[in-house]
Symmetry: D2
Subunit: 302 residues, 4 copies
């Protein structure tokens, strides 16, 4: 495994720094694009790494995975009355579909879906972003995980499109709490900073039928885990989800911080990170590394 990751690092070296770092807020725009890390965690908790695998980065939309874990815990199957599980076919932040489909987002991994999930969690918890932080600390075994409040506040200032989506869902009756309060928590979750190692550990349960080998607890049931991976496979990379399935063939979730988590069901969880993004908003070197990996050892689920 170590030599495999070393080989991949060598292979993608020329791609590191290609693409564009997310620039819609200063805190993300200033990140050095010439960074790359990868970590693989097996079902017994053994972690192998290459590159800058212990450098924390902004997890951004990868937080949607943990957010959904919280919501499933509180709502179970009834969750799916307020959000679908279909790919969207449109950019992650489009309002068109939301209007035509009466405020029910297509899936929990586009922004509108994650916002409705956040709204649901908000209805049950006093401080959702603290609960989220505690969850990822527990799952990663790293008690130092923190949200970057500068990033959270900067995202809040640039909240216009997410606020627009939240209010549109409210107009359709599918958003129950105060929009600004939910966005406050939502952006704090996005601003969590974790390393590749942290995220590979924290998502191990997805490769392990719901069981976390660190805490020795079931995070999700086996059925829910399978469903999570199914939605990650069809909707985890925005409107590049099909292409990611085509090239990589693993359930996965990306964030504009340059991180991507991926799952080899029954075997491994992975996290790769490199800040510069391709045109679809996913880590350019990160996607390439995952593609190299599935090509080398045929880890694709397909």
């Amino acid at each position: 495994m170590q030599s495999l990751l070393n080989d991949i690092l060598t292979e993608v070296q020329p791609l590191i720094g290609q693409g564009q770092v997310a620039s819609y807020i200063p805190a993300l725009a200033n990140v050095d694009p010439n960074q790359f890390g990868i970590a693989v965690c097996d079902t017994e908790g053994k972690v192998t790494t290459a590159g800058q695998a212990t450098t924390p980065f902004s997890i951004q939309s990868i937080s949607k995975v943990f957010n959904l874990v919280l919501a499933v815990t509180y709502y179970g199957e009834s969750l799916w009355q307020r959000v679908g599980c279909e790919p969207s076919g449109l950019p992650f932040n489009s309002l068109v579909q939301l209007e035509y489909e009466n405020g029910i987002p297509r899936n929990p991994f586009i922004n509108a879906g994650a916002l409705v999930i956040s709204d649901m969690v908000q209805s049950r918890l006093i401080s959702p972003h603290v609960a989220m932080r505690d969850l990822v600390r527990k799952l990663s075994g790293n008690d130092n995980v923190l949200a970057n409040t500068d990033v959270a506040e900067s995202e809040f200032e640039h909240r216009a499109r997410n606020a627009s989506m939240a209010y549109l869902m409210k107009a359709f009756g599918n958003f129950h709490n105060d929009v600004e309060a939910v966005l406050h928590n939502y952006f704090h979750n996005c601003a969590l900073e974790m390393s590749c190692v942290d995220l590979a550990r924290a998502t191990q349960f997805l490769a392990n039928r719901g069981f976390c080998s660190l805490t020795k607890e079931a995070v999700l049931s086996q059925d829910h885990t399978r469903q999570f991976n199914a939605i990650l496979a069809t909707s985890g990379l925005y409107d590049e989800a099909g292409s990611f399935a085509f090239r990589v063939g693993l359930p996965g979730k990306s964030g504009v911080g340059g991180g991507i988590i991926a799952v080899v069901p029954g075997r491994f969880s992975l996290c790769v990170w490199s800040p510069a993004l391709n045109k679809m908003g996913n880590s350019l070197a990160g996607v390439a590394a995952l593609e190299s990996l599935t090509r080398r050892i045929n880890w694709s689920v397909y």
Copy 2:
């Protein structure tokens, strides 16, 4: 395996006949809804069945899989310049997306995508529907496979929406041949009649890294097979693709004749058939049977 299929047959018995038989043409509307068959083919070619697994039915959109095989044979990777590999998020026959995306269909399994694939094949073959018939005869080992010309002609008479899509792509320069000629072949392919056993055999290569154990030939390369399965997983069941991944978790392709093929990569190809359809246009009892199967023995890829 035999007892597994028997158990599934017993379990879905109450669902057989529920839903609606496709009614847009008389030849399909008159099919007896109270039929059900299932066949599983392993990678050595051994077939296990339950129910009416040798009754031929109209394969309809399942033909899109074989059509894509022909196109890959002739065009290789350049195929993807004229059609995408992303889920569509809209009904299978919508023109909206096609117009916004300048005549490039989202994927080869929505109607617009299958039409452009047919147009590509038409550019290389004198008689595409004969080539298709010969291909499925060879892959299924059944030399009696035939298209039902009554069905083909009836579909041609009701061609308006498909013709509209083809002409729209032509307006964008992404359709090169005569629309009516391509539709003629397209509808003949849809009108092929095959049984569950025929289809399980004919799609075995998808479970077998591209290799057909019957003909002892590679139908597709291993990489292309993985890509086929990826697109089947994200786009094979129209706008129910996400829900099918969620419930069943296998690459698959459905047709309005009530058939669904599915793939357990590395292990099995399957075909289930029952003519009555759910609201999304997929076999109601068929989807339930596949869901039962993956729940019973955890065949999901996720």
Copy 3:
């Protein structure tokens, strides 16, 4: 004129109360639907009335006309860089078009357009809704015109869709002020209560080449007045604008309070009011009264 209005009142009597009173806020839902008034003001300021022409009602979207007057005063032609002058072809509160057209509303009389106009006015005035109230008091000669703060507050509570539109425009850079502050003023303007007589007088300048005979001042230039009437003619009645041109043939603007103002350029301004609305959200008896009027004396501009 008096007998004409009496005849129209008699003719539309059976329609009064037909349709549905606006029900999205309680303050509007409780209005008695069995009311009707009409007032006509000629270019010398002479007013003729029938029915309950001096009963104040909630002017709602008719306020968009006065809002645009304020904006033209401050911005002149540069106004049209931030809002178009084309009919929308979609419901008055749709976000679809706004997203496809990058946050530039189609015209100032759909909600998105009126919100951007309010945002512009907000950039120039400390208290826009006081300026608006003073404007309509001056133009109508009625110093008792007031906004109903219960209505304004209730509308603010139900602001979700308007807030969604404002935030979407902000995401595109076409909304500069605090969304809630602008909505506060916007809803106060909508909540102004005026009678048919007040509104016929206050819009007389549109029939009089921009000149108000009461104040003896030019409200708009002759060119701007012509342009105002053109936009009212193509976009004043939401997605019923074409039908209103077809049936009535006058520039006009409706509100969900049941009022409609209309203009016979060079001759008369009119206001008709009856609270029950047709399916498009315009006063059912009001549209019928205007149709009767143009049919009887051929006042149509066409």
Copy 4:
């Protein structure tokens, strides 16, 4: 009048040839852009001209006016069950709206609407394009009016988008005849060649309450004439209709051949022609000439 037209010709001289001649078919692409003509016809039939007012040009979409006359003759009010009278808000040849609104075109002056009108006429006449030719010959008093069959055939070859729309309406049940047969007639109507003088005379009835002073016959009833002008005012210039109302303020209809007819109800019909088009597909110098005209003598209806 003569000196007015001379002044306008002088004023727009620098604009003649600016813009782009329609280039989608060779027969139109080869027209000399440096041409301009204008003709005004009063309600007694007196014609005043400037520039190349007797040069025939391809009337293209202006034919939709005469097509609608034929349809009203045969169908009366029932016509409006198959086509609306609302502005479209989208480009003239978009399919998006048609799909969302179930195959009912927004109005008779966008392509989809004109096609359904042609389909209706086809249901009543053996040879619609001959009937159309005879109608415009009669109304213009010019027995030499002919369709350019090269243009008609070239348009038919480039029929893809129009065919797509016709088939989409057929899929919704709103198109009854053979698509190619209707398109054949449709393109022959578009290919009629008439001069400014011909068109000013042929549309005089729109300025004259439906009465043609040449034939001394009512072409339309007074009510229908008012309705025609209303639709021309809200929908006659595609997605520039609102801007045309704003700048010019007259009912009008444009064609990609560079002609525009306009109506001053009760007073004049006009035709202006210059082949080079603005970005919206309307004659650049032609719109400017009409704007100059209404500014000079305040002919706007608003």
